[in-house]
Structures are given as structure tokens and as C-alpha cells.
Subunit: 247 residues, 2 copies
């Protein structure tokens, strides 16, 4: 936990907040804070700030916080992901938030099992905490927006442009030879949208629909990666390419 | 499972092997093989090949295999990793093998808890199966070599050069601004050795020892990543940079 994230409703008008639970335990047991000490804080989807420890007692920590005037920008990369197995998705939420994703769109596909949509891991009660864990690890305040789309064709044809607008779009494809860096050659200030298919890949119909919406196919070499490994690897390559462009 | 990996001792002189357990279950339940059908096989640390289904019965599958003449090269990237938490390392083994690593050196550091060395996840009984799982996912036969080093200073000063020879060496450092691509500018045909520290980082003494052995510090942006995410991200960047150089 490299940042203590606070919800707006927890903090009163003068910046006071009383923490218990995991955040207080981290302050007490890992950082061993004492009154007067300052710690990095952030308001969820809001500014960073500094919290000064006011008092400690009964496993709780009282902080008085002062926040920056500006809010950090939303990460400029979005993800369209065929819904992975629940066990894989559970591992992925915090890692996606840590790597920095503005929006996560989970969709159906022929090779996605229907019952995955009915599991706990796609409920906000589950993924919100895991996303916040990732933000606290990576020191960001911007919670990824999550949407779930059970009808692939309706989503890609009718809804995607509304959600992803003028993004530069790439789709991972084992048969493609174009690199991420080449595909992002003219990204400039546009958002980037990455599509990653299910284990076993998109079927031909799905890939045609995706390419019809302007996605360029990119390859990541001969090795077939599990969805969670592929997501982390591809996000790392895209973020690196964007950084190199803007350097 | 995109490749059925076989141990040399399982295959007789005429290429016959009888599979049961997870590999047979995959052939029967996922690929739904029948006699006469061929499947991709590989000999662990040996060549790829083709197996023809001879017979099926009682949950077992008999294959007759023909192997290539040549053995695929060992991945040209090695990893020096401060021993992560057991839960994190367990998740990491298969992903490292899938991404392609020639050698994995796990070492102590001030911020590594001593009892991590006594856990099941650093025993060959545990990690060998997980590494093979990753190879079968990524279609490779070359099992990463694993070594465990409880004395950081002795390892880095006296043993590392013997294991890693004339490698180009980089160390992940949150304060560094040099990119992976820049650091690998003159990699040519050399192996690459990546060092990744513990959660919280190497201490100053450790970083000085590492840099004294020729490691260049590279940064991966402002976001602090968990060890497993950082390993996958950095391996993806290194593999991409090597591919771009040799293209």
C-alpha cells in the first residue's frame, strides 16, 4: 500500500477522516506512524494530498488531510477484454488498476463460457476493492470504469464507439506480425483501446467485426500467453510506446 | 495446454508413450482426439514433434511420436529475482516459463523475509510442475534452470558471473529514467539478465553491489508495481526490444 485512498464521503469539510480496518492496520503495523507524522493520501477519483496523523487509539488512526488543487488525469489506455475465467479475472483486477487503465469493457465471445457472467468476480462488490488495491499499490486515484456486455455483436457495432470514441485501436492476434510500437506510430494525444480475446482466440466472425471497427492486429511473438499474462504484457508494451512517443 | 510435453523417460525407443492424468484428460476432453489423429508434442528440454494417437482406453491415451532433429534454443533472457512472497511466487512460475526465461536465480535481500526460503513453493516438487504448465501454454520445451541463493553478497560477488557470464544486465529501479529499449541498444547476440528487487526495493548496499556487477538501472514509469506484475511487464519489454533489434 503505497498510497492511502479515501472515499469522498469519509472525509469531512475540514479534511478530517478516521480510519480503521486495513488502512489503519497498514499505518500502524507497516509504517508505524505516530501523531504529527504525515502520510501520502488520495481521494478516490480525486486529488492527491497529505494526511497528518492527529491521534491513534483502539486500532484506529485519525488523519487531517490537505488535498492538491488538481486531479490527476485518467490513464489514456482502455481495455476490451473477452471475459476470462473467474480465477484469472480475480488475479487481474488489481494488476489492471496498477498498470493504469481508464476503462475496462468485459464482453462475451463464442469461447467465453456463459456462466462466467454470473460469478461474484464480475460484481462491483468484488472488483471495486481489488481495483482500489491496485491503485493503492501504484499510487493513483483514478478508478477504472467497468462495463459488462453480454451481447458481443450489439456491443461492438452499436455501443463501442460511444464508449471508446476516437481511440487508436489494436487487437492482439497471434498470427499478426505488426508490433505495438509500429501500430502506435501516430497515436499523438488519442486514447488507445486494446482488445484481447478469450483463451483460444476470437472466432472469425468476431475478428471480422472487431477489424471492421478500426482495430489493427498486432502480434506479440510466437509464445501463446494466458489471458492475464497477455494483458499485463500488452499494457506494458502500450504504455512504453506511448511514453516513448511523448518523450 | 497448447503442447503436450513428455519426459525422456516416458518415451520408449520407437517413440511410444502412454499418457494418463492431466495430459490424457486434455487430449480426451478438450481436444476430443480419436485414433489416427495427430497432436503437437515436445520432449522436455528436447525437440518438438508430432504424436499420432494409437489407442484410447480407461482414461489413457497411447501416442507414437516422431521428433524433430533439432532442439529449440534456450530463451536468451535470464532473471535475478529477490525471493517474492510465496503467494506471489506461486502465481509467477508458470508465467515466467510462458514468457520464456533461460535461468531463474532467486536471492535473498534485506527486505526478503527469511522464512520464504523454507516454503513449499521454492522446492522443485512444486515449481517444476508449474514451469511445465507454462511451457505447455506457450509451446516451448526448454525448462528454465532454477537456482536459489540465500547469501546475497556471496552470490552477487562470487557466483553471478559464473552463471550469467557475458550478459547485458539491467536492474529495475523506480528512480531511473533510462528505458529498456535504450539500455538494450547494443545487445546484439548477448544474453540479457534482468534483476528485480523485493517489494520495497533493494537497499543501498545491495544496489551498489548490483551496479558494481555491470547492471544498468532502467525505469518503468511512475507507477509502483507488485513483483509479479513488474516481472511480466519487464520481460515483455525486454523480449520486445530484443525482437525489434533482430528484425
Amino acid at each position: 500500500m503505497n498510497l492511502i485512498l479515501l472515499e469522498a464521503a469519509e472525509v469531512d469539510a475540514s479534511g478530517d477522516v478516521s480510519l480503521s480496518g486495513a488502512r489503519a492496520a497498514h499505518l500502524l503495523n507497516v509504517l508505524s506512524v505516530s501523531p504529527g507524522q504525515t502520510v501520502r493520501v488520495g481521494m478516490l477519483d480525486g486529488p492527491f494530498g497529505v494526511g497528518t496523523v492527529q491521534s491513534i487509539g483502539g486500532g484506529a488512526v485519525a488523519l487531517r488531510c490537505v488535498f492538491d488543487a488538481s486531479v490527476p488525469p485518467r490513464p489514456s489506455v482502455d481495455l476490451l477484454l473477452a471475459l476470462p475465467r473467474p480465477k484469472v479475472l480475480r488475479r487481474l483486477w488489481a494488476q489492471l488498476a496498477a498498470l493504469g487503465v481508464g476503462r475496462i469493457m468485459l464482453t462475451n465471445a463464442e469461447r467465453v463460457e456463459r456462466n462466467y457472467f454470473d460469478t461474484h468476480v464480475v460484481t462491483p462488490e468484488c472488483y471495486r476493492l481489488l481495483l482500489i488495491e491496485g491503485l493503492q499499490q501504484a499510487r493513483d486515484t483514478r478508478l477504472p470504469e467497468v462495463s459488462i456486455h453480454r451481447q458481443f455483436k450489439v456491443f461492438v457495432e452499436d455501443e463501442l464507439d460511444g464508449l471508446a470514441g476516437n481511440s487508436l485501436r489494436i487487437v492482439a492476434d497471434p498470427s499478426a506480425t505488426s508490433s505495438v510500437a509500429a501500430a502506435l506510430g501516430d497515436v499523438n494525444d488519442r486514447r488507445v483501446l486494446i482488445a484481447i480475446g478469450p483463451e483460444g482466440g476470437w472466432n472469425n466472425f468476431e475478428m471480422r467485426l472487431i477489424e471492421a471497427r478500426g482495430f489493427q492486429a498486432i502480434g506479440m511473438g510466437a509464445r501463446t500467453l494466458r489471458t492475464d499474462t497477455a494483458c499485463v504484457a500488452l499494457l506494458a508494451l502500450v504504455r512504453d510506446a506511448i511514453t516513448a512517443r511523448s518523450a
